[in-house]
């Protein structure tokens, strides 16, 4: 038996950098350093753990859609232990929205071949959290999403989804799309050996023609959602800062009362 896992990852602008928009209202990627979305590290980690706990032959492919620099995100995942990588890169992809991205990912996942797709719960830039559901819908396979615990055995994926009202145990047959939360288990750091090994691992590049996708279906022109305006939030006016000299709690109560919260 063998198990083919595809982990979808995103190369995102560093949240600690000064993120802003370009003139066409897409995210400006030139001015801020990019990196593998932190939440996707959990997806890579769970793929590795499934592999380590399995008697089957497990092959882990890490997949991203993004500009040239997105290779850095793939290298990080490879250095953690993924086996190979696929980079979908095409100038016509600039400005693609979530619906369009799900099309590209679905076609790429199908071309790569898969039994299980694992994603992070959301990207750390757009934070929509809809890609795993969209991917499951496109692929016509079960979505087993927002898991804080995941396991795979005998062609079945099981997991725990912690919601507001309840914690649910979920189960589905493979093939399936899974997404994992940051509660699923600390992601490992790449070892020196892992980093060296990653340099030799294959990274395949595909463009839109490899996936039979027309340029009009994706990109800014093909987007189903239009951003019409983006403006920096006005800086907050400087607040009152008081040093506690024994009466801090009372002073704060006075402030809250003045604002009618008490």
């Amino acid at each position: 038996m063998s198990l083919r896992i595809v982990v979808t990852v995103k190369y995102v602008p560093d949240a600690t950098g000064d993120r802003h928009f370009a003139d066409d209202l897409t995210v400006d990627r030139d001015d801020v350093d990019g990196l593998l979305s932190e939440l996707d590290e959990y997806a890579v980690e769970q793929a590795l753990q499934i592999s380590e706990n399995s008697d089957d032959d497990v092959e882990i492919t890490v997949l991203t859609v993004g500009p040239e620099d997105a290779k850095d995100a793939l290298r990080k995942a490879l250095s953690m232990g993924a086996d190979k990588a696929i980079h979908v890169e095409d100038d016509d992809l600039h400005g693609t929205d979530a619906i369009g991205t799900s099309l590209v990912l679905a076609k790429a996942v199908e071309k790569a071949g898969y039994d299980l797709v694992i994603s992070g719960m959301a990207s750390t830039d757009g934070t929509m959290g809809v890609l795993p559901a969209l991917l499951a819908e496109r692929l016509g396979v079960p979505q087993v999403t927002l898991l804080s615990e995941v396991s795979v055995e005998d062609g079945t994926v099981k997991g725990r989804r912690d919601g507001d009202a309840a914690s649910e145990q979920l189960e589905a047959s493979l093939p399936a799309v899974v997404s994992v939360t940051d509660q699923s288990g600390e992601a490992r750091y790449p070892s020196f050996k892992g980093i060296m090994a990653a340099k030799k691992k294959p990274v395949q590049s595909w463009d839109l023609s490899d996936l039979d996708i027309e340029a009009e279906e994706v990109g800014l022109e093909g987007a189903w959602t239009k951003v019409e305006d983006a403006s920096a939030r006005p800086a907050r006016t400087a607040g009152t800062i008081v040093k506690d000299e024994g009466e801090g709690g009372k002073q704060l109560a006075e402030y809250l009362a003045s604002q009618k919260f008490i």
């Binding site: 949240a15 993120r19 802003h20 209202l25 932190e38 939440l39 979530a98 750390t124 934070t127 929509m128 959290g129 809809v130 795993p132 559901a133 969209l134 819908e137 496109r138 079960p142 979505q143 999403t145 919601g163 507001d164 009202a165 309840a166 914690s167 649910e168 145990q169 979920l170 189960e171 589905a172 399936a176 939360t181 940051d182 509660q183 987007a223 189903w224 959602t225 239009k226 019409e228 983006a230 403006s231 920096a232 939030r233 907050r236 607040g239 800062i241 008081v242 040093k243 506690d244 024994g246 709690g249 009372k250 002073q251 109560a253 402030y255 809250l256 009362a257 604002q259 919260f261 008490i262």
Partner: protein, 320 residues
Amino acid sequence: MAEVLVYVDHVDGAVRKPTLELLTLARRIGEPVAVALGAGAENTAAALAEHGAVKVLTHDASEYADYLVVPKVDALQAAVAAVSPAAVLVPSSAEGKEIAARLALRIGSGIITDAVDLEAGDEGPVATQSVFAASFTTKSRIAKGTPVITVKPNSAAVEAAPAAGAVEALAVTFSAQATGTKVTGRTARESTGRPELTEAAIVVSGGRGVNGAENFAIIEALADSLGAAVGASRAAVDAGWYPHTNQVGQTGKSVSPQLYIANGISGAIQHRAGMQTSKTIVAVNKDAEAPIFDLVDYGIVGDLFDVVPQLTEEIKTRKG
């Protein structure tokens, strides 16, 4: 007037507040038609009618509880086919966003998630979003199909607007995918008696400075004196001091209350992403250089173990 579908988030017929907020927003762009699914769906009608629903489409089947997400997508798709709405509004919960996404794809429409405001526009509804850790505000619209928009809690004040709220049975045929992901067990979360974090008008949070699970009692006591929800920073959750369901921030919940009180929280970008849109922000922190003080309307530089209990006592005294 065009009809606008509103997906109803309810627990056994008790409608949750974000849905009532959606009805208020829906009235800006058309006539709200509510869709309530699962056990107790019909019991939602009175509350929905009181807040502007002209019609309430209901359907109950065991599939809604026994399988994940897809049965609800099937039902909402049936409602779209029945009503041909001008837009579909869904509360921005984790599940709400998944339902909305799959629906949008099926009906050939774009999707906007986590809107914080909504208004009518010449080319359809315009949604305001708060992005990049709330450092930018964007306005967007759907370019293709029936707009599907998820809206964050606390994005509008709930307004009563009595309407007919006529209950109609929705005919639903489940798709082949509906039974793909089985819910094999469910453990209800124990109620703390406090308001739900994302819906609360006041949130009191604790971070690294709380320094231990047992010390969260101080934070809870302050929250209870204000009728507030309790939040926690990622550092506090990762240390095991408070449950993940209470985590405020980029990888937890995003809150937008009237008042946010941060205790022992430095204010890293990841935390700010989850609370920066709060109307009034207050912080208590020992470190005068903590970035949280850049955000506050009122800050106390001091030891939370001195300040917070004193504040709680003073609130209790004032409330008599």
